[in-house]
Symmetry: C2
Subunit: 337 residues, 2 copies
DNA sequence: CGACATTATGACACCGGTGTCAGGTTCGGA
DNA sequence: TCCGAACCTGACACCGGTGTCATAATGTCG
């Protein structure tokens, strides 16, 4: 397998390598005849430009980094799927980088990542999307970035989110319409901006429908299955027991379901349970969880696409989009008896 | 932020850039004094070598590709974790590439991936690990690769696996010791070599303990939750109903559990259920699934580490390792009544 | 038809490293 | 003390592309 370089193409086609380069990049000022000729040679020799050489010349790596610190494998996978789709369309590579939000070294860790891998841009996924320290750092260093599923909208960056507050509102409303008036709520991880948004949606729904808010029905979770177990215990021990539980994500909701089942409670007859995210587990357990589906792949793909555009030609205008979330009703919620 | 290149370091340290390069690569034939001097300048200027330039000069990309076509997000994530660990230790990047085993274009898709991204090597994860067509292609093209969790051991490549057959043996034996004699089995995806291995382990356990094999107790699944539901239906409809079900992975086991619960069967009192893989769902449902834990991260990390070593200096000797799997007993299996 | 603008093309340096090789220095042994 | 071997070091080409600029070819308009 002999190597085919721009030089071989050039000499084979009888033009200079600069001209080949022009054809490669769809630059103007190449006559149609020449362009045709070079394109034909591309095919004949099965030429693929070397992205490394191109990167060196243009001082780019064609690599986008994606950082995350998220316990949900399915969420991560969905993020990756969306990001990969955008990268492949634009001949970029995706470098995944799990890391620890709480780590002492986070910023320097990220800095090193960018330095050593020469990233062209960074995608921030929750909980980094709203991590001010990091965002400010990137801004200072002038490193292009896009934020996925952030809650706090700023003015100057690329950000694609879904409407968590509205989703939480709808699912709470769904429970209220089923006759529930005592709806427990399990909060998510305090570092995630979604946590606050979902809580807000819950409150707004109560408010809108004139259901009294009861502080004792709110538990602090952290999105992990384990925290869901703890919260579930507190909630199921309450007297009177709430007739419904809305957990801020499906893992915690699954934990509530598990504990309830262990205690011989029938779901949804004795208690309704709702989650958030539409993780695979939501339909892998019985009864299936009523939950909120977010367009994670879409969000990420849009964010990365815009990021790459921005890298190609920096744009002043911010790009801020909010996609809608969707209520999915399954068997875990039912009319109160 | 001024750019620090090898040239700045060289002139600042008063040596040639070749000498700087020598220090960078820990080459011999540099006096201690010079080495010290250069290393000090590295620190002072905060120099990071440009991997792209290095790649161009050495005709390498320092990128390892990882291909997969696997429905289990948690498995993929674990593979990534292991692969990333190995890459980071060796200053490599990991390029993830989900793709379709059955796709018409698979081979040319992979070829293009390698061409365009200039991969230095490829990690094959199930079901690609034993996909002869692809392995042969890589061998022909002389592209370094490592196989994770393959069943068919060959002589000439890097391969790290875990003992699926033994794991299946142990979990079946566990059921037999609990008094079960009618143990249904759900097979995995026919393209995965693990499918056959797990079935073999099941058979060997029956055989060893003198339990008669009954063909009617075996269902064809494909590792997906959905296929588990179908198989579960057939199994639960049998008369007499088996007293235990061993599904080839946890998703299918969860499906059996779901269907059994829907039918008012008590698990494990009425029927025991066992899975394989120790996926998160195994402990997120109630009752928790008895299953087999494999060292996925370890396997992958070892495979990638060896692959990178092999790329640095091609070795004749193959590297074949089998790690042990571990039985984890949870609440879904119990003594027969 | 001549002056000038526009388009097409190539020569050459450059991106930031590494490989090759030649020349100078130091060291060990006779 | 002299000589060859081993050790250091730097000059320079090279990896495979892109950017700059000069120049040649073509087109436009008065």
């Amino acid at each position: 397998m002999k190597k085919v370089t721009i030089n071989s193409v050039a000499s084979y086609a009888g033009v200079s390598k600069k001209t080949v380069s022009r054809v490669l990049n769809n630059e103007p000022n190449v006559s149609d005849a020449t362009r045709e000729k070079v394109l034909k040679v591309f095919k004949e020799l099965d030429y693929t430009p070397n992205p490394i050489a191109r990167g060196l010349a243009q001082n780019r790596s064609f690599i986008i980094g994606c950082i995350y610190d998220n316990p949900s494998k399915s969420y991560i996978t969905r993020v990756q799927t969306g990001a990969l789709a955008a990268c492949q369309e634009n001949n970029y590579n995706l470098l995944i980088h799990p890391c620890d939000l709480r780590g002492e070294e986070l910023i320097s860790n990220i800095e090193q990542l960018i330095q050593t891998s020469r990233l062209d841009g960074l995608v921030l996924t929750p909980p980094f999307s709203d991590f001010k320290l990091l965002v400010d750092f990137l801004k200072t260093k002038n490193i292009p970035y896009a934020r996925v599923a952030s809650a706090v909208l700023e003015d100057e960056s690329i950000s694609v989110r879904s409407n968590d507050e509205q989703g939480a509102f709808e699912i709470t409303e769904h429970l209220i319409r089923l006759g529930h008036k005592s709806i427990a709520f399990i909060k998510g991880h305090p570092d995630h901006s979604a946590t606050e948004q979902r809580f807000k949606g819950y409150l707004r729904a109560l408010n809108t429908h004139g259901v009294e808010f009861n502080e004792r029905l709110v538990e602090e979770g952290n999105f992990s299955y384990h925290s869901g177990v703890d919260s579930a215990r507190s909630i199921l021990d309450l007297t009177p027991r709430p007739t419904a539980v809305f957990a801020s994500n499906d893992y915690m909701a699954a934990a509530v379901l598990k504990l309830a089942t262990q205690r011989q409670l029938k779901v949804p007859d004795d208690i309704s349970i709702a989650g958030f995210d539409n993780a695979p587990i939501a339909r892998h357990i019985w009864p299936g969880l009523t939950t909120i589906a977010q367009p994670v792949e879409d969000m990420t793909k849009q964010a990365v696409t815009k990021l790459i555009e921005h890298i190609a030609e920096p744009q002043e205008a911010p790009y801020q989009v909010t996609l809608e979330a969707r209520l999915i009703t399954r068997e875990s919620t039912a009319q109160i008896k």
